[in-house]
């Protein structure tokens, strides 16, 4: 699916901002980076600015564009795009025999930036985790991946005891595979 999206110039423009949430860039530079004409970039950037996804600041005569991280739509698009990247990199094969795999933290909330880790919780055993798949996830997203493995019986105990980590994950996560947390 991502491959189909990437055929559209507008999507490529938007994708740059979704993967560089704190980045500021000039139209010409962005055009060079993604291999699209400056005119096309400008047309889409103007449209995204009108939609409230991008903001523009002036630096002398230059117009710098950046993602509007306060926009809920931008937040949700960041989240959705990261999900597509993780799916393409094979997150569903990270621990298919485990009880559950979930993404939590800033990635799940859509509040991440370029420096944020991708936090993944696996309910199961260490032996069920294909750690060799982690580099592919990191390469696809350009971000570091942190995998936390918790046996189901400990996870349930953490929930019962009101453990703050468990509570925060329960409040904010995306279930990738397996049963509900």
């Amino acid at each position: 699916m991502l491959r189909e999206f990437e055929k559209f110039v507008g999507f490529r423009v938007l994708a740059w901002f979704l993967t560089h949430p704190t980045g500021e860039i000039h139209i010409n530079k962005l055009a060079r980076e993604i291999g699209v004409s400056p005119g096309s970039v400008k047309a889409y950037a103007d449209a995204f600015e009108r939609d409230g996804l991008l903001t523009a600041t002036r630096l002398g005569t230059a117009r710098l564009l950046s993602l509007d991280n306060d926009s809920f739509a931008a937040r949700e698009l960041k989240r959705a795009y990261t999900v597509l990247l993780l799916a393409r990199a094979g997150i569903e094969e990270l621990a298919p025999e485990s009880i559950a795999v979930a993404v939590y933290g800033s990635t799940a909330a859509g509040t991440f930036d370029e420096q944020s880790d991708i936090d993944i919780l696996i309910i199961g055993d260490e032996s069920q985790v294909a750690h060799g798949r982690v580099p592919a996830l990191e390469a696809e997203t350009g971000r570091e991946v942190q995998v936390t493995v918790v046996p189901y019986y400990r996870w349930e105990r953490m929930k019962e005891e009101g453990d703050p980590f468990a509570a925060s994950v329960l409040q904010n996560h995306m279930l990738v595979t397996g049963v509900r947390l």
């Binding site: 025999e97 009880i99 189901y152 019986y153 400990r154 996870w155 105990r157 049963v179 509900r180």
Partner: protein
């Protein structure tokens, strides 16, 4: 599996006699729980795990019987009780824990996963909790 899939595939079906099965299921749950404890006492943790799962399964199944249904799939049992119990938070919490035990039990029974004392103790606590809730509602 989704509720509709479970019903369409005959893995969950309405049964006018379902309610009559409820006392037998409670009795089975209690019997398996006793067996689980005996197995812990002799450090047979895999057997304790399987017995505790069976106990919890029979307890959870009483919720399905009470709603007038029977099942032919453990996965669909969870789906169906979720579907029929609505927003009941006690049942929802129990099902979330039971569903994990269901997958773990599969690994113990079919993949040779080992069980240690901590896990066995958890399973017995969960089976206790399931039976207590079932008795409170239907006993």
């Amino acid at each position: 599996m989704r509720w509709r899939d479970c019903v369409d595939r005959g893995l969950i079906r309405a049964d006018p006699g379902a309610l009559e099965r409820l006392p037998g299921s409670l009795a089975s749950a209690a019997r398996f729980l006793r067996a689980a404890k005996k197995n812990v006492a002799i450090e047979e943790y895999e057997m304790a795990h399987l017995a505790a799962y069976n106990s919890a399964f029979h307890s959870v199944r009483t919720f399905l019987y009470a709603a007038g249904y029977v099942e032919r799939s453990h996965a669909c049992l969870v789906t169906a009780v979720r579907h029929t119990s609505g927003d009941d938070p006690e049942v929802a919490d129990l099902l979330n824990a039971f569903d994990k035990l269901r997958v773990a039990r599969h690994n113990v029974q079919y993949s040779g996963a080992l069980v240690f004392a901590e896990e066995a103790a958890f399973c017995i606590r969960l089976a206790h909790r399931a039976l207590a809730l079932a008795r409170q509602r239907f006993g």
